[in-house]
Each structure stands twice: as C-alpha cells, then as structure tokens.
C-alpha cells in the first residue's frame, strides 16, 4: 500500500530523517515507536506532503508519483491524517469539523455511525471545535478521517490524553477498520497498546529506522526495548 | 536668504532674476480648480509682461517655479521656506486650503517676502492674521456669502433654511450669510450644521418642506463632493417642485461640470470671474484653452492677474526689494482681465474688485462647452468685500 524509500528531512540545517525505508501492506496496522524527537511526526508530515524540506520516494498503491503530488491530491487518493496536535478548527463547529474533509474512499462512515460510536460528539455538535475537551478533540480528529472513508490512516498518537476506557475503544475501532481493509500507520508511545492493535512495529531513533519487529518479537524482547526506549 | 549675489545679471533685482513660485495643490481636491494649469497661467503672465515691456523691463530674467503642497499645511510650510530661501522666490502665489494658506502667510511675514493668496477662502488672511507681505487676491467667504445672500433675498427669497458643514469654513459662511440676509430684510428660519464629510443629506432635505412657514430658499454652504451629494439628493426629493429654491455658498464651475447643469439649473451663487462674461474674458480664455485644453476657472485667471500685477509693481518700483514692491502695491488701482475696478487696499491687503451674481443655466441653454453661467448682475468692488476696519487687521 505505502512505500517509503530513502526519505531524508531537514529543519533548517538540522537533518531529522536519514534514509528511511518503510513499507506498509494493504490492511496492515504498523506502528512507529521511538523517543521524543526521534522524527516520527516529521515522517508522517513528509508522507502527507506537509513538510517541504524532504527528499526521497513515496509511493501509494503503485503510484510512484504520489510523493510529488500536492497535499490535497494525496488526501483525495484516500489518505487520512490525524495530526499530533489534533488539528481541530476553532472557527468550525464540531459537525463542520466532521464534514470538512471530502469523502475519499468507497466505504465512509456515515454521520449517524460516527455519532453512535462517539455520542459526546453528537451532544456537542453545535459547539466550536476547540471548545471540546482535549480528549474529545482527539476523538473528533479520528472520527473525521473515518467519516472521509480514507483507506490509509496516518495517526499521530491518537490515544494521547484519552481515558483508559476510550483507549480501549480506540483499539477496538482500529481492529474493526482493519477488518474492513483499512491500512493504518500509527505513531504510538504506548508499547503495550501498540501490541494489542498492530501487526508490525518500526523502531525509529535519531531519524533512522533501527529495527523492525513483529508482535512476538516485541513481547519477547519487551524488557530490552523498554530499556532502549525508556518505556 | 542664503542666496549670494547672482552670476552677472543686472543688480536691480535680487539674484539677478525675478522668481515667481506657484505653491498649490496639484494632486488633491483643488487640482482641477487650480493646480498645474495655474502654473501655465502664471507663465502666460510672464510672457505677456515681457512682450509688453521688452527691453524696458526691469529684468529679462524671470523664472516660474512650482511645488505641490498636497493640501498638507506642514508641507506647504516647509516648501514655502524652501522656495523663498533656496529657490530665491520673490513671491509665492495661490496656496489653497486655509490652514496651508495661513501657514504660508506666517512664512512670508518671517522671511519678508511677498505672498499673493488666491486659492483660500478664509477672511483671516485679511483679518487678525494679516501681515505686511500677504495679499488676498480673488475671493473670500464674506464676498461669497454677502453677494448671494443679499441678492437672493432682495429678489424675493425671504425665508431661508441654511445647512452648513460643521467646520470653520461652513461656520464662517453661515454667519456671513445670516448677516447678509437679515440686512436685506430676509429671515433665517433655521440653520443646521451637518457632518463633514457627509454623503446623506436626506435628513435635512426632508425637514425643509415640513417646516412652518415653508422656506423659500435652501442655502447650502457645502463644497466639493458634499455639495454634489446634497444637490443630487435635493433633486431626488424634488424640493424645487415644492417651491424651495437652491442657493449655494461656494460653487466652482468645475462643480457644475461634475453634475451637469440641469442638476443646478436656476441655482444662484457668487462668482469671482467667469470666462464667458465678455469679449475680453473670452479672448484670454481662448488663449488659455489653447495652452491647456481646458476652460479657465476663476482661480486660473486670478493667478494670471496676480502674477501680472506683481510684475507691474516691480516694474514701477524698479526693483524687486519686497518693501518697495509692497509700497507700490498698496492703494494701487487698476483694471485687468480678471480684476475689474480693482484696488489693493492698503489697510488690510484685500484686493477688491467687481464680482458677479451668477445663475446656472439649464442644459437647453448651454451653447458651448463649459458655458454654464448666466451673469445676473455685477456686484461692484466697493460692495463686494468686507468693509475696511471690521476684520481686526492691524497692519
């Protein structure tokens, strides 16, 4: 589904990604883990076309020119983005926040389905987006890409600030959409949660992918990894 | 001045040359009325002077310089100083906008150089702020108000409703008008200050026909864009049909041109000069038009006349030394294309001359371009301006 080859990225004169190669297969959930500042967010921004100073090849479903398209074209090709700061609009109501992205996939969630899954959003749908609580904004950001029917989700720490109950619920949703064939590239600090939803994990350190592991390997080497990541 | 002795010319005039400076608005609201074409008019005066005197002229070396004061008094002030000091101007002409006009008067006083104001209407120039070197040439608020106010009243417009913009010019005009109307036996039923600038006068236009008794004349002291607004709306509310005539305090021929004569038809006002008044005027106007491709306003003619009279005075004095020229001007009487039966009053430096009560023709009577006015009568110089000694000028 998604292939990244030789990705480099800079801020000013500081290089934050170095020769990153990454492949995500259709219907897979893959996580990126790594310390703060490792470059995880930057990687997603490059894929999304939001970071200008990066080089390398990014392909989507065999479309090798994907990495050269403008951001809105990439989204239209079925990529949904949940940014790390949630990206909720203050000038739009909750419902408008949901309706903003155009439908880009064959199987979008309907508004009622979204509201059923996240009842608070229905209750608060006329409020300005940023008047929601932090966690509610996080839900909104996720619900927004689900409603657009994106086939590839790029989620930057979607469980941050969510209550344990909701984290669980998010896990269920991820498994559910995976079953529906959606692909997810997930940034996650919580290794435990990561293993409950994802198939494979990439360890990012100082701008490089230093290791790729499956769930079994993660569990087996949990202590080593925790030490490495400080998790 | 910092200018040293000039290079070679005759010693009768400072720096070996006479420099006339036109300081006026070449980009703002007065640009059409006067502006750059006034510079042309002054050049015409120089040429006529040289043609008239030839070798007898006090000097052959006469220059015309100019600056745009952009209607900003601070720029007028600096430029006036620069014109006198650096460009060795012997006289400054025009200077519309009263604050700029008064600022330049102070410069003239300090520098002891001559200054003929043409473009400004304030009577302060010949009142409390008069000085030895400043002359007020073409018109002023008293003249505008007095002529129209008394003439219209005498012709039957007894009851007046006056609207005036709420700033110094409007207030002055309103007072002079009221005085003139009362003196002529009329009555001011009401007078309302209006915002300035303003684009909606309906409040006042609706009030007029509802008044009891109904006024015969609506006197407006608005000028420029505001006047146009008011007249457009006066016509919209059809006040003329309701028997309320329009009388305008300050109107330039350029204003009539803006709206077309029909909008103003029948309106009376006082004019300082009209190009199509007689053959003498027409001849000069044709010469002017040949140069500039527009019909002259009174301000163009007045600039010409002022420049000419200055040069004549220098010729009479045989020098351009300011005090000597002032001496030759004070009390001098003359008659030229602009100023008929003119006298330079020694007491306050008001240049008095005949002025005209004019009426706007309807479009059907307009025969040629810019032929908008019918002169109803000539107001003689002696009556037209504020009587000596009433303005508070101490020279």
């Amino acid at each position: 589904m998604l292939t990244v080859e030789g990705l480099n990225a800079w801020y000013g004169e500081a290089q934050v990604l170095r020769d990153v190669d990454l492949a995500v297969a259709e219907g897979e959930i893959v996580t990126l883990v790594g310390r703060n500042g490792a470059g995880k967010t930057t990687l997603l921004r490059c894929v999304m076309g939001l970071h200008e100073r990066c080089t390398g090849r990014i392909g989507l479903r065999g479309d090798t020119a994907f990495g050269t398209r403008p951001a809105h074209r990439r989204a239209r090709l079925g990529v949904g983005y949940v940014p790390d700061d949630r990206g909720i609009y203050a000038t739009l109501s909750v419902e408008e926040n949901l309706l903003l992205p155009p439908v880009v996939g064959p199987d979008p969630w309907s508004l009622p389905r979204v509201y059923e899954t996240f009842p608070v959003l229905r209750e608060r749908r006329r409020f300005a987006g940023t008047q929601l609580s932090g966690g509610e904004q996080q839900m909104l950001a996720l619900a927004r890409v689900l409603r657009s029917g994106a086939r590839l989700l790029l989620c930057d720490e979607p469980t941050e600030g969510l209550s344990p109950l909701l984290v669980e619920q998010i896990g269920e949703i991820l498994r559910e959409i995976k079953a529906a064939g959606v692909t997810v590239l997930l940034i996650e600090q919580n290794l435990h949660f990561a293993t409950t939803v994802a198939d494979r994990h990439h360890l990012l350190a100082e701008g490089r992918i230093v290791e790729s592991l499956d769930n079994g390997a993660v569990r087996a080497r949990e202590h080593e990894l925790l030490a490495y990541l400080g998790i | 001045g910092r200018g040293g002795p000039g290079g070679g010319g005759d010693e009768k005039v400072s720096g070996g040359k006479i420099v006339l400076a036109v300081l006026n608005d070449q980009s703002g609201v007065y640009a059409d009325l006067s502006g750059r074409n006034s510079v042309e008019a002054v050049r015409m005066a120089v040429a006529d002077f040289q043609a008239k005197y030839g070798d007898r002229a006090v000097t052959k070396n006469i220059e015309v310089v100019t600056a745009d004061h952009q209607n900003k008094p601070d720029i007028a002030n600096s430029k006036a100083q620069e014109l006198y000091d650096r460009q060795q101007a012997d006289v400054i002409l025009d200077v519309p906008t009263s604050s700029a006009a008064l600022a330049v008067a102070n410069v003239a006083k300090a520098k002891k150089k001559l200054y003929f104001n043409i473009g400004a209407a304030t009577t302060e120039l010949t009142g409390k702020q008069c000085n030895k070197y400043t002359f007020h040439y073409a018109y002023d608020t008293y003249m505008l108000a007095n002529g129209t106010g008394s003439a219209v009243t005498k012709e039957g417009g007894k009851n007046w409703y006056i609207v005036y913009p709420d700033y110094a010019f409007g207030q002055d005009m309103q007072k002079s008008f009221t005085a003139a109307i009362t003196a002529a036996g009329g009555k001011v039923l009401a007078k309302d200050p209006t915002p300035f600038p303003n684009d909606n006068f309906s409040t006042f236009l609706l009030k007029a026909p509802a008044m009891n008794p109904r006024p015969d004349v609506l006197g407006t002291m608005q000028a420029g864009g505001d006047l146009v607004n008011l007249v457009k709306q006066y016509n919209e509310f059809k006040l003329r049909d309701k028997g309320i005539k329009l009388s305008v305090g300050l109107m330039f021929i350029t204003d009539i041109h803006s709206l077309g004569p029909d909008a103003f038809a029948g309106t009376t006002f006082t004019d300082a000069w009209y190009w199509n008044f007689d053959d003498r005027n027409r001849q000069w106007a044709d010469r002017f038009t040949a140069k500039t491709r527009t019909r002259p306003s009174f301000a163009h003619a007045a600039n010409y006349s002022a420049a000419m009279q200055y040069l004549e005075a220098v010729q009479r004095a045989g020098t351009d030394a300011a005090d000597a020229v002032v001496g030759r001007l004070e009390g001098y009487s003359y008659d030229d294309v602009f100023a008929r039966n003119a006298t330079v009053r020694a007491e306050d430096h008001r240049v008095v001359h005949d002025v005209y009560l004019a009426e706007v023709k309807p479009k059907s009577e307009v025969k040629t371009d810019w032929d908008y006015e019918r002169i109803l009568r000539t107001i003689p110089a002696a009556e037209a301006f504020r009587p000596v000694g009433t303005g508070g000028c101490a020279l």
Binding site: - | A67, P73, D74, K79, L102, N106
Partner: protein
C-alpha cells in the same frame, strides 16, 4: 525575533560594531541639517521619534495602532497652545503636550487594549477619528481647519527663527525620546511585552496582568508620540487638522514597516525615507504621490517584511555566517509582530528561506 537577537544572546564580538553604528547614527543626526534642507531635517527628526514610539507598540507589544495621530496631534495642539498663551520655553510646551497625550491615552488605551490584532488597529483608528472630529469642531481652541497658527519658539530669549539653529535646539528632545524608547525596550518591562505579544494567555498564567502591561505600553508610546508631535508643531509654527488625520497615522505605520517592525533604529530610517520621498515628490512634477508611496509600501510588505533594517541585518548575519562557517541553530525567521501559531500554523513553522 529580531529583538531577541539583540539581547544577551548577542555574541560579545559584535558589541563594538553596535557602538560603531550608534556613533555613526549620532554623527549623522548632528550633521543632518548640513546635508539636507534644515526644516526637512527637523521633520525627519520628529517623525523618526514618532515612528519609533509607534514601533514600541507594533514591534514589541504586537499591537498595530492605526490611530496614533490622535496623540501626535493632541500634543501638537496642546504644545502650541501652551507656547502661545504662556510664553514658556518650547521644551516645556512640548513636554506639556506629551503629558496631555499620555493622559488621553489612558481612557482610549483602556478601551482598546482589550482587543488585539487587527481588531485593535480598527478600534484605534476609530478613536483617532473621534479626536479628529473634536479638533475640527472645537474651533475656539484649535482654529478648525484654519489650524492653530503663529506658535512661537521661545527658549531663554535665544533667536531660533533660523531652522538651522532650531534643529539643534530640538534635536536633544528627539534623542532623549529615542533613548527613552531604547531603555524601555531593553528593560525588564520590555521583555514582558515581548512575552505578552507572543502568547498572552501564557503570560497571564505566570502572573502578568496582560491588559495593564499593554496599557502602560500604550501610554508610554502615546507620550513619546506626543513629544514628537509637540516638537513638530513648534518647528512649523502651527498645528493643523492634518496632525490628527488618519493619513498621519498611516504615514507613521508606513515608516515603521518600511524601516522594519521591531527595530527602533529601522523606524528612524523609515521616517527619513518617507519624509524625503514626500519632499522630493512635491517638486518632482508627478501628480500621483499616492501611486508612488502606495507602491513602495506594497512592495515592502510583499518583499521585505523585515524592512530596511531587517534586510541589512540579515545581510550582515549572512556575511558573518559565511565567515564563521558554522551552522546556526534552526530558528523561525519571520519578524511577524503577533505570531499566533494556534491559528496560523505557518507562522511558527515556516522553514528558513535561507535553506
């Protein structure tokens, strides 16, 4: 940003350069009436102070006042009236004008500082317009559109009628004002202003009463603008409605932007340029002054948002970097007066155009 750069982070090696620049600036100020026509030199000095005072708000507090003519003009009238009616030495009159401007700034500022950004600009503009109408109608005091004429220049019986001489009498006031501004910007208070500009909510949470800080900045800026306006009126010998017109506010803003927002010295450069341009155009025989000034303004906003000073500084920095060949830490480059990254993600994230 520029200002942060000016602070302690400045490498010690550049200190001498700064003193050199300062000395050169002072020398230029002293030599000005020899170089250009003295009344114009005086205009430049007054406007420079005005623009720099405005920059205290725009550059260091993040508030664009589009109504500063109210303070410049009020002080011009007040200084003129004091000089005419009391016969006191002109510096006293100018000081009186500045104080009155500051007093006027208290209620106006109180109402305005609760807004920020573009809102603030519009509100100040509207208040200034109110002052304009008052000045227009209060004819007995201001002379209406005739202006307040015949303001004397009194100083211990000296003859100041020559503008050349007057320049040197007035210059100390301007320098004092500029020094005052420099002091304010480089004071603990100045640091708080910058913090408030960057994030008022944060500043509040650490205990700064934001409104009151903004108000004090507003009043100080108004007082110094008043100082400039009073001096301007004395130097011209009159005060007119032009002084309280919105175009005067616009002109001052133009100077600040041209010189470089957030750099006091840049504002003085901007003032010199605009005054000279206006002076030049009045005799250039081109009847579209607005076309020229407007175009210059548009170009500056589009192409040199950091203004002359910022551009010069960047050139200097680039040269310095080339010499040292050492990468600089990444930093935002735009000298945006009020970056609000929550709504303008670009502001903080724009990568350095130097690349």
């Amino acid at each position: 940003m520029i200002r942060l750069f000016l602070r302690h982070t400045e490498p010690a090696g550049r200190r001498p350069l700064r003193y050199l620049l300062l000395a050169a600036g002072l020398l230029l100020a002293l030599a000005l009436p020899w170089l250009i026509y003295p009344p114009v030199a005086m205009d430049i000095a007054s406007w420079a102070l005005f623009a720099a005072a405005l920059d205290l708000l725009l550059g260091y507090t993040g508030l664009l006042s589009f109504g500063h003519a109210a303070f410049w003009g009020t002080s011009a009238y007040a200084a003129g009236l004091i000089a005419i009616h009391s016969g006191l030495p002109f510096p006293v009159a100018v000081l009186g004008g500045a104080l009155l401007a500051a007093a006027l700034a208290v209620p106006i500022g109180y109402l305005c500082v609760r807004n920020s950004g573009i809102y603030f600009a519009m509100v100040t503009l509207a208040f200034a317009q109110m002052i304009y109408f008052v000045a227009n109608q209060w004819r007995s005091l201001t002379g209406g559109e005739n202006g307040l004429q015949g303001i004397p220049r009194e100083l211990l019986g000296l003859d100041l009628s020559d503008p050349f001489v007057f320049y040197y009498a007035g210059l100390p006031i301007v320098l004092l004002g500029l020094w005052g501004l420099w002091r304010i910007v480089h004071s603990p208070f100045g640091h708080v202003l910058v913090a408030i500009r960057d994030n008022p909510a944060r500043a509040r949470a650490i205990g700064y009463p934001v409104e009151r800080y903004k108000l004090l900045a507003f009043v100080l800026s108004a007082a110094l603008s008043g100082l400039a306006g009073g001096l301007f009126a004395i130097s011209h010998g009159f005060a007119s409605l032009q002084e309280v017109n919105w175009t005067t506010s616009g002109k001052a803003v133009m100077m600040v932007v041209l010189g470089g927002i957030g750099s006091l010295w840049g504002s003085t450069l901007g003032a010199a340029l605009v005054v000279q341009l206006e002076d030049y155009l009045s005799t250039a025989g081109f009847d579209g002054i607005g076309i020229v000034t407007g175009t210059v303004f548009v170009l500056v906003v589009l192409l040199f948002r950091q203004g002359l000073w910022g551009a010069g500084r960047q050139l200097g920095a680039a040269a310095g970097r080339a010499r040292r060949r050492r990468p600089k830490p990444p930093a935002a480059t735009e000298a945006a007066p009020v970056p609000t990254p929550t709504t303008r993600e670009e502001a903080a994230w724009t990568p350095s155009p130097r690349g």
